[in-house]
């Protein structure tokens, strides 16, 4: 009878009819089996990852006295870096001045486009010194020493209109307004948002043009992403849905529940994107700089701070012996 090989997972020793068997082989086999079972490597465990959720978000400052300066939209920054984006310190001027690059390095700008993969939109506002800074970008750079798996990316942007004493809070409806860009229809959901996850090139870490795009969602259709639009539009009210209730306590008849979600939610699930060790990844989101009236918003349509947002990046990391 021919020797039939086993899986040889627990030991490499094989005992079959026609093979030898002696004390040494049995001893070696049992030694290996017991040793393997007392030190089971992670490769033998089917479920060997755990999740980590990186949560970010921002509630922009608002208010009657708050400057709505075009340039004060941090953490959002223009997509294009050019001469007009650089500053120098003038010795005899009380403030920084714009437009000079005399103190910038000779290779400035290192990356005139802050990342590759965003698309500028025809018909949307062009602003800034370059005349083409039509996109605001929010970026989350991260670094991992061990391999990870990107599993889920979520981005929720909430509008929550509230008018008090003449100012309105988070007024973005995420629809095109009366002066919709060419090819767009007024009051329809905007479709200009870009989400990109990219990894720096290991050979040219500071050159964004060599980045490897892992996720690229362009022209995201807001209409498919609305979260509780119905209640918002219909003016639905919600009682104490959860504590603490997000309700204006003494708003009277003119106010309504601020807890009602009026949002767009971008979600990419089950991505299973492996990222190699020592990678530098960047999660970026770009929104166009709409003209007032281009987007349905009661005030200051161009500012990216007309909504507040929650971001969550879910990754998987392998179990460890603590010695890696």
């Amino acid at each position: 009878m021919a020797t039939k090989l086993s899986n040889r997972e627990a030991t490499k020793q094989q005992f079959s009819d026609g093979t030898t068997i002696d004390g040494n082989r049995v001893e070696d086999a049992m030694d290996e089996i017991v040793e393997n079972f007392n030190e089971i490597p992670k490769g033998k465990v089917r479920s060997r990852y755990t999740q980590t959720q990186i949560v970010a978000g921002y509630l922009p400052q608002q208010g009657p006295s708050y400057s709505a300066s075009e340039n004060n939209n941090l953490p959002w920054m223009h997509s294009v870096t050019a001469a007009g984006s650089a500053l120098k310190l003038q010795a005899d001027a009380p403030y920084y001045v714009l437009g000079s690059t005399s103190e910038a390095p000779s290779d400035f700008p290192l990356n005139s486009e802050r990342y590759k993969g965003y698309a500028e939109k025809e018909g949307l506002t062009a602003i800034g010194a370059t005349g083409r800074d039509g996109i605001w970008i929010w970026e989350l750079p991260l670094s991992f020493s061990n391999p990870i798996i990107i599993q889920d990316v979520m981005f929720v942007m909430e509008g929550k209109q509230r008018t008090i004493s003449g100012y309105t809070t988070f007024s973005n409806y995420f629809n095109y307004g009366a002066s919709a860009p060419p090819g767009k229809t007024a009051n329809y959901g905007a479709d200009d948002i870009n989400i990109v996850v990219h990894v720096d090139s290991p050979f040219a870490k500071e050159k964004r043009e060599y980045c490897l795009k892992e996720i690229a969602s362009h022209n995201v259709q807001n209409y498919s992403k609305f979260f509780n639009r119905h209640n918002f539009i219909e003016g639905g009210t919600m009682a104490d849905d959860m504590l603490p209730p997000m309700r204006i306590q003494d708003s009277g008849a003119s106010g309504y529940d601020m807890g009602i979600i009026n949002a767009i939610m971008f979600r990419s699930e089950d991505l299973n994107l492996p990222i190699s060790r020592d990678s530098r990844i960047r999660l970026s989101l770009g929104i166009p700089n709409y003209l007032t009236q281009q987007i349905y918003s009661t005030v200051n349509a161009g500012a990216p701070n007309n909504q507040y947002y929650s971001v969550c990046l879910t990754i998987l990391e392998e179990i460890t012996g603590g010695d890696e």
Binding site: R8, S47, L59, P64
Partner: protein, 594 residues
């Protein structure tokens, strides 16, 4: 002890059944849902504290004041890594088997526009006076090349301090309020000069430093300081994210009907795999290989299990496999949630202060009108922030802790004129027109937080560390508080009450609930164990409102004036930096699938 032992087989000893089949039988026993970390070479799971800031600016008003002070202008983030409920000792007795989390890695990254520059922050700045001027900067977000190598340093410090058990009605960990650093030990420090961020070939941004190996103690309190060391006021670190990666030994998952909202079908019990049926030959029988009781035939049974890999833990639908080999399939987890991030120091009241920042009146907070003036400020509109976190994989929530950087005074029972309410809930109805919530944890901190303060870092003077004029703030001390947000429980049913920090001498003050399961479900995992609706519920537990279909965790924080905003007394600071909500519990091993 789960490790397997065997009798050695030296030369000259007669081969008996014990030598081969006893170890195989031990393995068979282990494979029936009993494999613990004792059997695993890689027995630790990892978790991260991820701190994301919209932007970090040096909080100090000017660069001209005393720069010799340690940590001047730093953002301060308090945190704890408490034992989970089954290991928690309210008297803080550290048992010999209590596992410590170990700091393995620190990483960070910020948005530098991919240029070799610093980024100009949101505060207008007067170079001649070398201080902020109280207006919005017209150059925020621009590349700044002015002495960037010298002016864009960043330092990360972790301070450790003992938590002293208090027997008072209000937690008073120590009486030395003169210096926050007097009772702390600096256990970690990483300083990067601005030159680390100016290379055009490889900046240390983002960057990680691994293999740290620093154990953290479960009953101690920690303070992370993120310090822009340059003291160069106009600059900011935009979208700064700091990640502390820890490892900790894995553990058994929660089970039983006292875990609120857990799927009723298994209640978390391990689904023991069936025996592989090691067939032991009779004594003194002939040694054989391939017969049913042969050596190889029985080794093959073990081989087969290993070849198919060991199973255990939930999938993303909270469903455990029908055959589980692993007993220890859960790991420690902390989800760190920022709320009200990136704000400048905010004060209440109508006091005219030396305007150092853009928007440091309370009326720059959303949803409230001109808070510091009349008549618009004569209102009690609250302000809110919330975060939505998708439930990708199931977890159980054991503790919820709120970390603050200045909030209503904890040292007196009659503190500020505003209160803060913090809640955590489960939500279902994602991207739908209808949705609902199930409450998990909640605390309304009304004026004082009697009975709920875990610990605080207290006592550095506002005027000293942030260059505020002392007269600007009636309360001249800044402090970081750690506050326990109780889980839901029935006030009349001890079985629903869990274990957490003892914060006063009155047990009723620090009650919390048993762990709460949070995970998506489908038909089989939809029925759930009942849950109470609020901490201190007087009604019995009922079916969860999310009926086994929760999809996200929601964190809310509300700041509410108890009197008109314009009348809040003494213009006390509301906060200097972000509030952090820590959702602490167990996560579970998972595999990569769809």
């Amino acid at each position: 002890m789960a490790r397997i032992s065997r009798n050695k087989l030296p030369r000259g000893v007669k081969l008996t059944i014990d030598h081969v089949f006893t170890p195989l039988q031990s393995i068979e026993t282990q494979l029936q849902g009993a494999i613990t970390t004792d059997n695993l070479k890689d027995d630790r799971s990892t978790f991260r504290l991820n701190f994301n800031f919209p932007f970090v600016r040096n909080i100090a008003k000017s660069a001209t004041a005393d720069n010799t002070l340690m940590y001047k202008g730093a953002q301060c983030i308090p945190f704890v890594l408490p034992p989970l409920q089954e290991d928690f000792s309210i008297d803080q007795v550290v048992g010999t088997d209590l596992e410590y989390p170990t700091l393995e890695e620190l990483s960070f990254g910020f948005d530098q526009r991919s240029e070799s520059c610093s980024i100009t922050g949101p505060d207008g700045y007067n170079q001649s006076a070398n201080e902020k001027i109280g207006t919005a900067s017209e150059t925020a977000g621009f590349c700044n090349f002015a002495n960037v190598g010298e002016k864009y340093g960043l330092e990360f410090i972790i301070l450790e301090k003992n938590r002293v058990l208090s027997t008072a009605t209000v937690y008073t960990p120590d009486t030395d309020y003169t210096n926050v650093f007097a009772n702390t030990e600096e256990i970690f420090n990483l300083e990067l000069p601005g030159t680390a961020f100016i290379s055009s070939t490889e900046k240390l941004n983002p960057f990680n430093i691994s293999d740290i190996g620093r154990p953290f103690q479960p009953y101690k309190s920690y303070l992370l300081l993120v310090n822009p060391t340059s003291n160069y006021i106009p600059n900011a670190f935009v979208s700064l994210t700091v990640s502390l990666k820890f490892s900790m030994k894995m553990m058994q998952r929660d089970n039983g009907d006292d875990i609120a909202n857990i799927p009723d079908y298994w209640e978390g019990e391990i689904q023991n795999a069936t025996a592989v049926s090691i067939n032991v030959p009779a004594g003194d029988s002939q040694i054989e290989a391939d017969s049913s009781d042969g050596v190889q035939a029985n080794i093959q049974k073990v081989d087969q299990v290993l070849a198919e890999k060991l199973k255990g833990s939930y999938n993303k639908w909270s469903h455990a496999p029908p055959q589980e080999h692993l007993k220890d399939s859960a790991g420690y987890e902390v989800i760190t949630v920022p709320v009200f991030g990136g704000m400048p120091p905010i004060i209440g009241g109508d006091k005219t202060i030396d305007s150092n920042y853009v928007g440091n009146y309370a009326d720059y907070l959303p949803y409230i009108a001109n808070a510091h003036t009349s008549p618009e400020g004569d209102n009690q509109y609250p302000t809110f922030d919330r975060r939505i976190i998708p439930l990708v994989y199931p977890m159980t929530i054991h503790h919820v802790v709120l970390g603050t950087f200045v909030h209503p005074d904890t040292t007196t029972s009659t503190g500020q004129d505003w209160d803060i309410a913090c809640g955590v809930g489960l939500g279902t109805g994602m991207v739908g027109d209808e949705y609902t919530y199930q409450q998990v944890a909640y605390l309304d901190i009304n004026n004082s937080v009697t009975g709920r303060v875990i610990d605080y870092f207290d006592g550095w003077e506002t005027a000293t560390y942030y260059d505020e004029a002392a007269t600007d703030f009636a309360s001249d001390d800044a402090h970081c508080d750690l506050i326990n947000i109780p889980l839901v429980y029935d006030v009349g049913v001890a079985g629903t009450q869990g274990t957490s920090y003892k914060t006063t001498n009155t047990a009723a003050d620090y009650l919390t609930g048993k762990p709460v399961f949070a995970g998506r479900g489908y038909s089989q995992t939809k029925p759930r164990i009942n849950i109470n609706q609020i901490p201190g519920d007087s009604a019995s537990a009922v079916e969860p409102k999310t009926i086994g279909s929760e999809q996200w965790l929601e964190v809310r924080l509300k700041i509410n004036p108890n009197v008109n905003w314009s009348a809040t007394t003494n213009s006390k600071p509301i906060f200097y930096g972000t509030f952090w909500v820590y959702i602490i519990g167990k996560k579970h091993l998972t595999k990569v699938d769809i």
